[in-house]
Symmetry: C2
Amino acid sequence: MRPQIVLFGDSITQQSFRSGGWGASLADTYSRKADVLVRGYGGYNTRWALFLLNHIFPLDSTKPPIATTIFFGANDAALPGRTGERQHVPVEEYKENLRKIVLHLKKCSPSMLIVLISPPPVDEEGRKEYAKSLYGEKAMTLPERTNEVAGVYAKKCVELAKDMGVRSVDLWSKMQETVDWQKKILSDGLHLTPEGNAVVWEEVVKVFNEAWLSAEAMPYDFPHHSEIDGKNPEKAFQQQCL
Amino acid sequence: MRPQIVLFGDSITQQSFRSGGWGASLADTYSRKADVLVRGYGGYNTRWALFLLNHIFPLDSTKPPIATTIFFGANDAALPGRTGERQHVPVEEYKENLRKIVLHLKKCSPSMLIVLISPPPVDEEGRKEYAKSLYGEKAMTLPERTNEVAGVYAKKCVELAKDMGVRSVDLWSKMQETVDWQKKILSDGLHLTPEGNAVVWEEVVKVFNEAWLSAEAMPYDFPHHSEIDGKNPEKAFQQQCL
């Protein structure tokens, strides 16, 4: 009955229903209009995401999502030769993997609204502090991610979206517009604070609105309570429910 | 693929995906295990909720929810002869309506975990202040809800749950255990603060755990990223995805 919006991504998507999270805010925005389903996989890169495609988005689905956000890259951009090496995916392969994901979704439903979200910026100092808080002096001294490299992946992501005629959010650039983004937007140099989550929510809603998926323009699923006559409630429900 | 948990109720359910909301927290608790769908209808009482039953919970569904929370009563308990009269439902009818909802859900799926949630307490002073903030001196002087009456409905809700062998959360009693609950738990004398939302989340998770729906005991939908071999990722996905 209710259309579905799927959020497909890594930990930044998986954690998006925590307090102040962008996924929860999106669910609230589309309250009584669309269901927001979170398909976030902490630690995953695009290479591993490919294994999930047929399961999360089966091609024979009779009711594919009306919209999907694809939000990978933070792990793909982990540097080779460092602690996150296992997650690293070369940037050209990252782009090709994103292309495969978009092609699969288009095959799943040609009318699906597809939004690519670039990885956010990285605060190397914040990552270092976070590592120290976990491992003390044993913490790695070389960064496992840099902001510069994250930017290269973000650029590829936006480029691919243009190539394929789908929409995108350049989070890497957008978030760096905030003064003191390192602390305001990021909680551990990589993941998002509530303020950072608010940026994702705002940007996604903006892109959804610019496309055709405006919550304001969508009808409520059932009558607003103010339209229900206390003495004759049947009337309000007649069209939809009787 | 993923089991569904449905939250059926009034505004306190509809708003449960706002920042710190109990619905969003529940979605986070069951992340990668179950989808939490919000079916909250602000202003609705149980009489109006009955019109929605066949639509939200069709009897011929091949995939009914594994669990549903039923959270009505705050509007049913609006006093007759006051500003909220339109929403008032006599307490015996409230109980019968809840019975109809439970019976429908049991018919929909005999194995569904059904949890009745009682209305929260009411802070009459808080309601008065809220009305004044909206309407100034024109605000009604007589309360449209009282804590005492909300308690009568809460008692009926818990009673009905026992009658029908389903689980319940007595929120009205539980919330009044908090010192200064009037301000700590309630934002406008009726709706919940983040602290109030946390109480609902804790109580619902407790009841789910006491039944058979413990998130900890449920498997992740796909491998945890730490189980994926960077050089041979196929292996981790072999069982579930290849």
